[in-house]
Symmetry: C2
Subunit: 412 residues, 2 copies
């Protein structure tokens, strides 16, 4: 029988009633003839509670014990979901990560999936079991210890199972009903997309449109797993939600598919850096060592052997970045007159695979912002994305103006 | 290095502070030179919460899923205890039941321990690990599913580990500081016992002195594991608490070691039963089938082919017992004039291995009660126990009078 993977996030299994509602959705797919693999998160709030216990017990915790503790929430949901399905006369059983086994690397709390043998679960499907309920987010290391895949890792579990079992589709049930052209709370004209390409979803996810864990999209792209994002709180039709799929399956699309934004970006400028070969490495090496996630980097034209270097990073890493640079200066590795942190900025990005074949997108974006009086502080571009940093007070205005300019309220 | 098993119950690990306090106790034993196996329960309240989820989801639950769900609380405590010990620079790691593995039968939710291979944990001890923190109450079936040992099963886990590893002692940390001659809330003269024999403890445990799970005492007796019951809430000396051990290790003891009681006993009398061979089986067969735990049984002298049959059972099983007997009467299997349930009784027992070699204990008990005007309704005796049913209003009076009569406030 064809296999379908269905993943339910924490809010979709937050109470016994919601687990029942999710189980009914599973029952519908079983009735259609699918063998279903259900991936469940912990009931919402549980993982945060457990992470809190670990942090309070041991701030510099042993990640192996962290994993043993925080993985337990998913086990509870998996068992309860299996029981709920059994009550509906759907043959089901639960599987913990080590029982599958979902084999990962030993990189505890951020493990990567190595292999998912299908024998155990397929043997049960062959015996008439219709639903394998698998605890998401967790696996087992070669040493036999429990591992976890990082926050949001259940999405990645789901895609990996879909790839391993050759599933027809991987449905991600969540608390939103799909992927939008932009945040509907900011632009009322935001439109739900029927389809979006993997590459676009990757850019949107990494830009803070937190619908899917980035790694799950990468994995889906690599194994060409059709991902569908849909709401567990609405009656569903077969074409509900948004399908994340290969570019080839999207016949027509707008040049720009969506406008993403991020509020928690900071702009940092090293003023008058002594310019010499290797200066970039001397600056960004220590930042990387300090765990600062540098996003955009701009180097202004050097004059008289000195230059200004600007970069962006998450606002909560500004202190760490300042210390790393100050230390490098003290050690004599770099030299600069001043370090200016501007935490009052936001990043706006236009994303679309159509940009590859169409010119003038950047020009249109800059003109739109200019017409609204929004000053652009930093620009960075990739093949399918143009990002700008602007004063945070212009965030909503900029998103709305760009959404209008690229006519995203209209389907292609 | 010698091995010590230390078990901490739910109240002893109810909060992170209490886990720290427990870890300090473990550190003291490590400093003495012991390799320690710590068995932990779930934080108090957790298991009840999980059991509640399962019952609400599926009243006639699949016991395999029940076990997968309710075992998760112990995993959390095990990881947190390992982290706490590491913070104290004690080399420790957690083990879930399947990692040891603690192999059990497949009787889910009431599994029995089959084997505990010591290789994995001993290999870590050899590498310098000083504490193995093991999630109590759980194991793994031959089919690779998670099993649990029944409520209170962590005591049994602890004793089984002590037997498997040849531990010098198994210390059970709980919320009382030992085993008393009787309930101190009833008799202020109640005295903590330094030592008590396995057989006596078994009688006390099954009589409702709920310090230890009965099975754990049986197991300790079979493998001659020295069990010590002590409080996790008090500063401890080496001879704190009560040692439960073989009779031979107790040099002197009182004839009677303790007075136990149970409030929730009911006395049921079948009036004027037609007496014939096989009548006892005809009465108690259906009761057993209905899950009624019959304790004492008394048959009065038959007159003219009819007799009165009296038995005791827990008060909450009275309705079930009445129905089972009524059904048997309807089916014509038994015949009686009346069925009288007296739920206003209590059971008082005197327990002591000294009774074996000393006569007159029963006579003294009956005279003591008679002197206080307490009417005895039913009597039952075993080799080391004399039990009576009395009106519940006399419970406190009877316990105090017997405690005084046998001078239990004085050590042997």
């Amino acid at each position: 029988m064809p296999v379908l993977v269905m993943k339910f996030g924490g809010t979709s299994v937050a109470t016994l009633d919601r687990i029942r509602r999710a189980a009914k959705r599973v029952g519908v797919e079983v009735a259609k003839g699918y063998d279903v693999i259900v991936i469940v998160s912990a009931m919402s709030g549980e993982t945060n509670k457990l992470v809190g216990y670990v942090n309070e017990t041991s701030p510099l915790y042993d990640a192996r014990e962290y994993d043993a503790v925080v993985s337990s929430g998913e086990n509870v949901t998996a068992g309860l979901m299996a029981l709920t399905l059994q009550e509906m006369d759907v043959p089901a059983r639960s599987w913990q990560g080590w029982q599958v086994p979902l084999i990962t690397t030993s990189a505890h709390s951020a493990a990567r999936i190595e292999e998912i043998p299908t024998d155990n679960i397929n043997a049960k499907f062959a015996e008439g079991m219709r639903v394998a309920v698998v605890a998401g987010f967790q696996g087992i290391s070669p040493e036999g210890r429990i591992t976890t895949l990082g926050r949001g890792g259940s999405d990645t579990s789901a895609v990996a199972f879909a790839a391993a079992f050759g599933a027809e589709r991987c449905d991600i049930y969540t608390d939103v009903d799909g992927v939008y052209t932009t945040d509907p709370r900011i632009a009322s004209k935001a439109r739900k997309l029927d389809k979006i390409a993997f590459e676009e979803m990757l850019e949107l996810a990494s830009l803070g449109a937190k619908v899917l864990q980035t790694r799950s999209v990468e994995l889906a792209m690599r194994y060409n797993v059709k991902l569908r994002v849909l709401s567990s709180f609405e009656e569903q039709s077969d074409d509900a939600g948004t399908l994340v799929c290969a570019e080839e399956e999207i016949m027509e699309s707008n040049v720009v598919s969506g406008i993403a934004y991020s509020r928690d970006e900071a702009k940092m400028t090293l003023v008058s850096v002594a310019d010499r070969p290797g200066i970039a490495a001397a600056i960004f090496g220590p930042l990387s060592d300090a765990g600062v996630n540098v996003d955009m980097i701009i180097q202004n034209i050097a004059e008289e052997g000195r230059t200004d270097m600007t970069f962006s990073c998450p606002t909560d890493q500004v202190t760490r970045a300042e210390k790393a640079l100050q230390d490098a200066k003290t050690r004599g590795e770099i030299n600069y007159h001043d370090l200016i942190a501007d935490t009052d900025v936001a990043k706006i990005s236009a994303v679309g695979i159509g940009m590859r074949s169409q010119s003038g997108v950047a020009a249109k974006m800059f003109k739109t912002l200019s017409d609204e009086g929004v000053n652009i502080k930093v620009i960075a571009t990739s093949e399918i994305k143009i990002s700008v940093l602007v004063d945070r007070k212009y965030l909503e205005l900029a998103v709305q103006a760009l959404h209008d300019a690229f006519e995203l309220e209209k389907a292609a």
